[in-house]
């Protein structure tokens, strides 16, 4: 029996063939942590008695969650991380003005590559599966251990193959594909499994694949993997920070399950509070008033997302009852939004345009919700209290739906405009 994409990559890093369900130790190609998870990882690293990271060029520390620092305590955490990076000679330390949200930033800098194993102290590390990397989120102790040794333990995931066909209709995006999948399998339906996408992968723009891979963890998945095609390899041509070898699944791979999705049949979807699996077509929710709209995050803060939002907001005004907060995922994207006129479209519409930060996505800062408030967000989680007060509500949607809702002051499809 052949191996799935996840198995092929893990086998190469374990130095032997592997099968789903096994526990293996693997070498890792890249390790990351952020301002919340790095301080604990550094503590674990020290408890281990380690002195040097396994390879300073293969570690990234991204200050993105509470930055620009929202208070003294978050500033202290960032200081700990900066000092560690300096003392270890880690070049990839990213912060205000020269960084972005980790999962938008690292692919952009060519630091995570096809065929590699990437472990990150952040559950959405699975985002890099869009490039064909086996990338997965772990906790800080795992990351401290990986920084010290260049290794990690894994349970080889079973694989759910998602066979794509058809073309995306206008206003339908990768967000709708992944919401559809999470709605279908549930929030734990892919626990200890990987998603592997195949078939008409080219119908999904690369930016959309990042969105899909990003939310694989919302179904409990260890990873969400796309075979790297010409678009993915072209994206990396001038970005890749080192050599890499793309790998692909064996034709006779053994899948736990196969799900077929006709992209042409997808509609804009929304996940209702308080679960990313509580998915319904946007039409079912039209008319529900909203107080805030967030467009950005590691799920939908990329160029195509900003373009879709701008397409809706250009020449229109944000509804007087709504705060609309737009957050490009990286400094590079923020600059491009300024250069190419998107920034003006957002500001003229009455939106807030923020420097890259996780901010409101996790109820950190830059748009925390009060009791009873309702938000449409392009981020990935709508758990109770995720963006603020436990009695606030978050609806997850694609950037076009979010922008249309900002204009109309209620949950709305862009087709209404």
């Amino acid at each position: 029996m052949g191996m799935t994409l996840a198995e092929v990559i893990i086998a190469r890093h374990a130095g032997r063939p592997v099968a789903a369900g096994e526990f293996v130790e693997v070498s890792v190609d890249f390790v990351l942590a952020n301002d919340i998870t790095a301080p604990l990882a550094i503590r674990a690293f020290r408890e281990l008695g380690a002195e040097r990271v396994f390879d300073p060029g293969r570690v990234a520390l991204v200050l993105d969650h509470f930055t620009p620092c929202k208070d003294v305590r978050s500033a202290e955490q960032c200081r700990v991380v900066r000092e560690f990076a300096r003392s270890q000679g880690i070049p990839h330390l990213f912060g205000e003005g020269r960084g972005g949200i980790e999962h938008v930033l690292l692919p952009e800098r060519g630091l995570v590559l096809p065929g590699e194993i990437v472990v990150g102290g952040d559950s959405h590390t699975c985002t890099y599966g869009a490039l064909g990397a086996f990338a997965t989120g772990m906790g800080s102790t795992d990351i401290g251990y990986a920084m010290a040794t260049g290794r990690a333990w894994l349970r080889v995931p079973g694989t759910i193959r998602v066979e794509l066909s058809g073309e995306l209709p206008h206003w339908v995006t990768g967000k709708d594909l992944v919401l559809h999948l999470i709605g279908k399998v549930g929030t734990s339906g892919a626990n200890w499994c990987a998603f592997e996408f195949g078939g008409n992968v080219g119908a999904l723009p690369l930016d959309d694949r990042f969105t899909v891979a990003n939310m694989a963890v919302e179904a409990g998945a260890t990873a969400g993997l796309f075979p790297p095609d010409d678009e993915a390899l072209g994206y990396l041509r001038n970005r890749a920070s080192r050599g890499f070898e793309p790998v692909y699944p064996d034709p006779d791979a053994d899948y736990a399950e196969v799900i077929e999705v006709d992209l042409g049949k997808l509609r804009p979807l929304v996940a209702r509070p308080h679960s990313p699996a509580s998915v319904v077509p946007v039409e079912e929710l039209e008319g529900i008033p909203v107080d805030q709209v967030v467009i950005g995050g590691c799920t939908n803060g990329r160029w195509r997302d900003l373009l879709l939002a701008a397409e809706v907001l250009l020449g229109r005004k944000v509804h007087p009852g709504v705060r609309c907060i737009v957050i490009p995922g990286s400094q590079e994207l923020h600059l491009r939004a300024v250069r190419e006129g998107l920034a003006e479209a957002f500001l003229a519409a009455g939106a807030v345009l923020s420097t890259p930060t996780c901010g409101p996505c996790l109820g950190g800062h830059m748009g925390v919700l009060a009791a009873g408030e309702r938000c449409v967000s392009t981020t990935n989680r709508n758990f109770r209290g995720r963006m603020g007060h436990p009695d606030s509500e978050v609806y997850l949607a694609n950037p076009a739906v979010a922008a249309a809702s900002a204009v109309l002051g209620r949950i709305a499809s862009p087709e209404e405009l």
């Binding site: 674990a44 281990l48 008695g49 969650h65 955490q77 906790g139 200890w192």
Partner: protein
């Protein structure tokens, strides 16, 4: 090892934002995190936890973010172990890596709040001493047992990497 304690009951899909809301992630101190344990589920929850309590949960406990602070908050609040129908992957890793016991019982039936429990980690049995019912846990794989036995990933690795 047998853990005895009082049952604290929660439902399905208790996520890491419920266990420890992100606004408290400006510290890594277990005692401080413990004072807000499960506050995201119910602001009154931390006041209900007594040291030594056993948390009884449904499916997918600990889903969501990778924050190890969730395990630290439970430990800081004095929760002795968590019994659930299933655990989310990263939470399971984190608890294992920190040597915090989890018991996975897919067939877990209803257990009343405050029932007296005895959890036999070695045999994988959860006894509800109040009702007399017994639930069977999924046995842990050898690799996980080895890490737990060492007291977590760091002591496990120290033993192996550095011969300590």
């Amino acid at each position: 090892m047998i853990i005895e304690g009082r049952a604290l009951v929660v439902g399905d899909d208790v996520d890491t934002d419920a266990i420890i809301p992100a606004r408290y992630l400006v510290t890594t101190n277990p005692a401080e995190l413990g004072r807000h344990c499960l506050e995201g589920l119910d602001p009154g929850f931390p006041g209900r936890i007594r040291p030594g309590d056993i948390l009884m949960a449904g499916t997918n406990f600990g889903c969501g973010s990778s924050r190890e602070h969730a395990v630290l908050a439970l430990r800081g609040a004095g929760v002795a172990c968590v019994v659930a129908k299933s655990f989310a992957r990263i939470f399971f890793r984190n608890a294992t890596n920190l040597g915090f016991p989890l018991v996975e019982c897919p067939g877990l039936g209803k257990v009343g709040e405050g029932h007296h429990l005895a959890v036999d980690l070695g045999k994988g049995l959860v006894r509800d001493l109040t009702s007399g019912r017994v639930f069977e846990a999924i046995p842990l794989p050898d690799f996980i047992l080895g890490v737990l036995d060492a007291g977590g990933l760091i002591p496990w690795a120290k033993r192996r990497e550095y011969g300590a």
